[in-house]
């Protein structure tokens, strides 16, 4: 479990400190205060040996990722590198992650007259304050080719420092294009015999669902219902079901790891929201998953507080805002916020 997290500089987040993180961490605040950026920064901390997740996170906001976005994310200035400090619960050590961005050029093999831009994001990780440009640290390389940016995953993170293997899943409402990741996640669900657990969650949205399969050459997810011969594809359902499928799959695969969900309530009707969140938190509790959520919904906050009445100590709610040159996170314990909500109808958003 991540205990403390400090983001020096990433997107709009400046000098943000999150101490004593909890099992369930909820981030609220106005638009553009940096809630989603916090989730992205957790992934960019370098804790997780999932290069695809890292690459997807960088591209997630943009329909067509291009070098222009790289420039805005990572200024080519040694002093402006992102610096993230992470302390894990089961260790007294603090992992320092310094992200450096480098740009270079190379001559294309196929066409000697053509020069490509290369962008490299280097994850320099260390358990001390001294960050060395060590070849053991891993990097992701993006090559600017004709059709866009090609990700060439650089050195694999098979170094001793990052031998952590912490599972991590990131679900964002805007990342519906991650279908290929959903299919591979469903494969893992089936491999790990978690089929029934997933069906139990999907029944919240349609209680007639009895099964699901990945079918055909194009590997479409199909859902089977009681008294219905022809199954429906996941796309036949609305966005709420699609998102719930994604979240539920991610939660089940995050055992002993971290689950990050952006705007959990988006697309889910309020009648299903309570049951869904309760089920989700139950899965996370049983599987020792540390949860990071963002939300704009007071209803979602009330459901979480209500569901965890006997475990309010396991919840922290952070209100994020910018002030002068810093990002401030005002922390409320589950107990404190529950009192504020009930006594004065406090709106923490």
């Amino acid at each position: 479990m991540i205990k403390d997290f400090i983001i020096n500089d990433y997107r709009g987040l400046k000098n943000l400190t999150l101490n004593d993180l909890n099992k369930i961490n909820v981030f609220v605040g106005p638009n553009n205060c940096g809630k989603t950026s916090i989730l992205e920064a957790v992934i960019l901390s370098g804790l997780f040996d999932d290069i695809d997740l890292l690459a997807d996170t960088l591209k997630s906001r943009y329909h067509n990722f291009s070098p222009e976005y790289f420039k805005s994310l990572f200024p080519v200035d040694h002093n402006s590198a992102i610096y993230i400090k992470t302390r894990l619960n089961n260790s007294n050590k603090t992992l320092h992650t310094n992200l450096k961005y480098d740009k270079s050029q190379m001559i294309n093999n196929d066409d000697a007259d053509s020069i490509s831009d290369i962008y490299e994001l280097q994850f320099l990780c260390s358990y001390t304050d001294i960050i060395k440009d060590d070849p053991k640290n891993f990097s992701i390389r993006f090559e600017n080719v004709k059709d866009g940016l090609k990700i060439v995953t650089g050195k694999s993170p098979d170094n001793d420092i990052l031998n952590l293997h912490i599972p991590c899943k990131f679900v964002s409402f805007s990342r519906f294009e991650g279908t290929s990741r959903l299919i591979s996640d469903v494969d893992k669900i089936l491999e790990q015999n978690l089929r029934q657990k997933l069906i139990d969650i999907l029944k919240i949205f349609d209680d007639k669902i009895i099964n699901f399969e990945i079918v055909g050459k194009d590997r479409t997810i199909k859902l089977f219902k009681e008294n219905q011969n022809a199954p429906l594809t996941l796309y036949d359902y609305g966005n709420g079901m699609y998102k719930a499928f994604f979240i539920a799959t991610s939660a089940l695969l995050s055992k002993n790891g971290i689950l990050l969900i952006d705007e959990i309530e988006a697309g889910i009707h309020n009648k299903a929201l309570r049951d869904f969140i309760e089920k989700l938190l139950d899965v996370c509790s049983v599987n020792h998953v540390q949860v990071f959520l963002t939300t704009h919904s007071l209803e979602t906050i009330d459901i979480i507080l209500d569901d965890c009445q006997s475990q309010l100590d396991d919840i922290s709610i952070y209100h994020i805002r910018s002030k002068e040159l810093r990002t401030i996170a005002k922390k409320y314990s589950g107990k404190k916020l529950s009192t504020l909500r009930n006594e004065i109808g406090f709106d923490v958003r």
């Binding site: 009330d302 504020l340 004065i344 109808g345 406090f346 709106d347």
Partner: protein, 261 residues
């Protein structure tokens, strides 16, 4: 709308409404005119899953460059915790610069004034707030907080002041109510008073003020006899100069003038 006004004060009191003024009357503010601070004080409560309970919003007034929120706390002992909860709104919105402070109005009842102030300090301290020298310290930020106890001399409650004003506004009615009060204070009703009010004789006088005021309220507002309040125009503008001749009224007026203007 009123964020630009410096003096945005909040009353936390036992149940008294209204602003005392020799000028124009304060205007009740509509919901869509509220500042972000006052709007946040209205409260968005979670759906009730248990016993239904009434949730009061403050009442808001505005006059000249002063905006006021008035809230009942259901007893003086609840005031520190209520202010502690409301201070979270001030902190979240970071409006320390524009928030004028808290005014607390409380009855002395039969207690010693110093003991009441000490009790307030302890209760604030248990909420993590320092209360000293008419000031609260909220997350390291100083916020003015002044305490006004009724009456300013002796012991009692606001009913003493209300009765003094009632003698001016409704003299005949007040005199008749006094006769009723005196009758209830005779030996004929001693057993009833001991059963319903208090055993001690010293406390009987305290409750008799409430009886007299209750009798007046019953006549002035027969459909809701126990809910007559200052905002129902017990205090009339035309008698303002006569009210100001009452020491207790003058003290209260001056306190409000000094802290609101």
């Amino acid at each position: 709308m009123y964020d630009e006004y410096k003096q945005t004060l909040y009353f936390s009191c036992r149940g008294y409404y209204g602003l005392f003024s020799s000028g124009s009357n304060p205007r009740k503010i509509e919901t869509n005119e509220l500042s972000s601070l006052f709007e946040s004080m209205i409260g968005k409560y979670p759906p009730s899953t248990g016993e239904l309970k009434r949730q009061d919003s403050p009442t808001f007034y505005h006059k000249d460059n002063v905006s006021v929120a008035i809230k009942q706390t259901g007893g003086c002992s609840n005031i520190p915790i209520q202010i502690s909860l409301l201070s979270e709104i001030i902190d979240k919105l970071d409006v320390y610069d524009t928030f004028g402070g808290f005014l607390i109005f409380c009855d002395t009842d039969l207690k010693n004034k110093e003991a009441i102030k000490e009790d307030f300090s302890k209760k604030f301290q248990s909420e993590g707030i320092l209360f000293k020298n008419n000031q609260l310290e909220i997350y390291g930020n100083p916020v003015p907080c002044k305490l006004y106890l009724f009456p300013t001399s002796g012991v009692g409650a606001i009913e003493k002041l209300l009765l003094e004003c009632s003698y001016i506004s409704y003299n005949n009615l007040c005199q008749d109510a006094k006769e009723y009060r005196d009758k209830i204070m005779t030996d004929d009703y001693q057993e009833l008073r001991k059963d319903c009010w208090a055993k001690k004789d010293s406390i009987q006088e305290f409750y008799s003020d409430k009886v007299q005021f209750g009798a007046i309220s019953t006549v002035l507002k027969p459909d809701k006899p126990v809910r007559f309040a200052i905002k129902d125009k017990l205090i009339k503008k035309k008698y303002f100069d006569k009210y100001m001749a009452l020491p207790e009224f003058k003290k209260l007026h001056n306190f409000l003038q000094n802290n609101l203007v």
